[in-house]
């Protein structure tokens, strides 16, 4: 794989021809990448591209609806993204590697467990990378990164990758304010009626 971008820098995206073709198929142009950090592992980088493309595709397919709050929209996008990733059959990401509860033997609802968005696995099932999707304002922090590595049992140098999408947030903020205003208005009406 060609070098794409310096770690953390901004600039034009340069992937291999097959990467660009795959991303183009998913409807994501090169110009849309604001930042693309390289991991030392080309398989991880290739997977990051595919997941980013799926996330962009989901957000294009489902722009914020007029009656959703920002929190509902974020939840909705995550739900759709999870479905799309499960059905994409990306090598190293099985059906159970999306929204996985850790430790490995824990089930949903286990006290003190954590949930990952997506894990990429090696053929021996060890964790190759952990992905965390962000649709809001706050991002991953070092403490969360450490928590994800520790609770998943991943090696200390396992890449933890934040996939973040921006572009509808300002509009969402307007929409959320409007929704809040409508909510307050209808609540007041109900109170008056009562």
């Amino acid at each position: 794989m060609q070098r794409m971008m310096e770690n953390g820098s901004k600039g034009p995206f340069e992937g291999t021809a097959s990467d660009i073709e795959a991303i183009g198929t998913l409807g994501v142009s090169q110009a849309e990448f604001e930042r693309f950090d390289l991991a030392p592992d080309p398989i991880v980088n290739s997977t990051s591209l595919k997941l980013a493309a799926i996330l962009a595709k989901v957000m294009r397919a489902y722009p914020p609806a007029s009656d959703m709050t920002a929190r509902q929209y974020g939840t909705f996008v995550h739900l759709q993204f999870a479905d799309q990733v499960r059905s994409a059959q990306i090598p190293g990401i099985g059906y159970g590697d999306v929204e996985t509860t850790f430790p490995e033997d824990a089930t949903y609802g286990s006290p003190d467990s954590i949930r990952t968005d997506v894990v990429l696995r090696n053929p021996d099932r060890s964790i190759r990378a952990i992905y965390d999707v962000k649709t809001g304002e706050s991002g991953l922090t070092p403490a969360r990164v450490n928590q994800l590595r520790a609770k998943t049992g991943a090696a200390p140098n396992t890449p933890v990758i934040e996939l973040r999408i921006k572009g509808v947030l300002l509009k969402m903020r307007v929409a959320a304010d409007a929704t809040e205003a409508v909510y307050k208005y209808t609540t007041a009406l109900k109170s008056e009626g009562a």
Binding site: R35, P63, T75, E99, S110, P111, I114, S138, A143, K166
Partner: protein, 172 residues
């Protein structure tokens, strides 16, 4: 699929019973598990909402790290405690996290940072947001698409269908 809210406060609740009492006072049918003592909660906290099993991730967080991660946000003052509440792609978890987080903020005179909107709310405002989320039905794909279409067909210029999306991939 983690989304987050943060409760910032200068005092912490001492027990799950105290937290549960704050939720009960707010009038929500959410019951937190008291299996793990509050000071040892670090991960999923089981709960029941309207009798259904749900929950959210909950952890005490290094306050300095949280503040440093949001340099653009005015938090009003230096806070002593930061509690992170995370929910996955599940609307009941969203509701549970907001009900519990807003009750915690209200009980400790703290504030809530909404990780989705980037907004700060005091306890009372956060409880209104929790009520809004509690009252809202689960969105579904059909209504989301229909509402988007209605939005696009209007003349208010709010369509986001052509909005430019930028993607950031950050490796830790």
């Amino acid at each position: 699929m983690a989304m987050e809210l943060w409760v910032l406060s200068n005092r912490s609740l001492n027990s799950m019973a105290e937290w549960q009492s704050a939720i009960d006072t707010a009038g929500f049918p959410l019951t937190l598990s008291d299996e793990t003592p509050i000071e040892r909660v670090s991960g999923f906290l089981p709960a029941r909402l309207r009798g259904q099993q749900t929950g959210f991730e909950c952890s005490q967080w290094p306050t300095e790290e949280f503040i440093q991660g949001l340099p653009m946000i005015d938090l009003g003052q230096k806070w002593k405690y930061a509690l992170a509440l995370r929910w996955r792609a599940d609307f009941n978890e969203l509701r549970a996290a907001w009900i519990a987080g807003s009750a915690y903020a209200q009980a400790t005179d703290g504030i809530v940072f909404d990780g989705q909107e980037g907004k700060i709310r005091d306890g009372a405002e956060a409880q209104k947001t929790a009520r809004q989320e509690y009252d809202a039905p689960d969105p579904n794909v059909r209504s989301a698409v229909e509402n988007t279409k209605m939005n696009d067909e209007g003349d208010n210029g709010e369509s986001t269908g052509d909005a430019r999306l930028t993607i950031s991939v950050r490796v830790f």
